[in-house]
Amino acid sequence: MAELENINPNVYKKCEDRTLTKDDEDEDVVDPFDEREIFDLIRNINDPEHPLTLEELHVLEQSLITVDNEKSTVHILFTPTIPHCSMATLIGLSIRVKLLRALPPRFKVSVEINPGTHASEHAVNKQLTDKERVAAALENTHLMEVINQCIGTPLK
């Protein structure tokens, strides 16, 4: 692999597992999607260059996720580890693909860079919003292999 862009990223502690309540085990209780559930779906996505999850690198934080179950919208802000991270689009795409597969199709997912944390924030956001370009990217077998590696089983 080529030289790492960010050799020594800050690593943070993972959060505790969600505590199960009685309602969680009751099949009859309607259980709307919330921020924590979305966070759990994406926190273990691997960073493309480090054997660490997006949660451990603080690329993803539950507080930067907004969910409106009723309106079927999910909005995610992610924070690249460095302002010139060339992997930003790939990370955003991995988050999109993971949610595309995991959520019911009614959901409108938007994935954007946490404002002020990346040099080409606007350009990356525009790419990630363009569903036609996302669709074309998902037909690229090489790119899909990389994305599948990121969103596959966590390395540890």
Binding site: P105, K131, E132
Partner: protein, 350 residues
Amino acid sequence: MDKVYLLQTLTGHVGRVWSASWHPSGDIFASCGEDKTIRVWTKTDTNRWVAQTVLTDGHSRTIRDVAWSYCGHYLASASFDTTVAVWDKKSGEFECNATLEGHDNEVKSVTWSRSGNLLATCSRDKSVWIWEIHNAPGQEDEYECAAVLNGHTQDVKKVCWHPQEELLASASYDNTIRMYRQDTVDSEWEMLEPMESHTSTVWSISFDATGKRLASCSEDTTVKIWQQYGPDNTVGIQCPDKGSVWKCVCTLAGFHSRSVYDIDWCKQTGLLATACGDDLVRIFKEATNSDPNEPTFELVVTIAAHSQDANKVAWHPVKPGILLTASDDGEIKIWQYQEDADLSQERCQD
């Protein structure tokens, strides 16, 4: 209140339906999508649309757009596989008899000129290509690239010919619309000044029946109306030596809650339809006392058309008020619009 009735829901495509095109007769239409197929729909005796033909072997990736020629003998398809296929029925069956290659990246849109002699394509490679068609009886059709136009600085999403003249318009990820025409002296294709006003990707464009106005829709959630002004205009708008200039005379803001992916200006009724990322299809009508230099449009109907993003709207070329819509939900729907319906209450509940 104006009303819209659902006439039929058509299923068959697997995954997202990107586009559809009415045959000029209105008795056939073609649709395409993520499943790499083109479905050719015709009407049965009982007025139901069925996909009689499914074209499966033309492209190796998503088919983004399809377009019938005005003569109705040719169907062109644009694909993410970088090629454009031209289909005809000369042998009795639909066959791909020409594949146009040249774009470096995904082809996003294809359109035929009114005369049928020109075809335009555009791509993520930022270029617009104009192809000349040479057809002689008894000979194979030949497609020759007449121009490669590199005006846009980003991915080109849509190309659309003027309804009468050989004037081409294109819309891009670079937020602008451009127009192209042939220089009368040296026959070279040249670009007019870019049309700037949208603040994000322009997804689609559509001329009105006269070709003197153009509607555009964008990722910025607005629709804009552009008016052509010639050197003889009475409102004092300066024109360059290229002849005419296009000015944005109206912005429809606040109506759409997400990206507007497609727009179609009905050549018969003047109604404007939009396809939006909020799953809704909207119909706008120009106000009766509308000033041509500062027109006003009213939202007359909002249709809860699909369960996912609406990608395509297309007015029927012959029957006023028939509208086709297509969506990410894999469905195509045919609707009947009815103006200010004077109907009993129960029929109004659509």
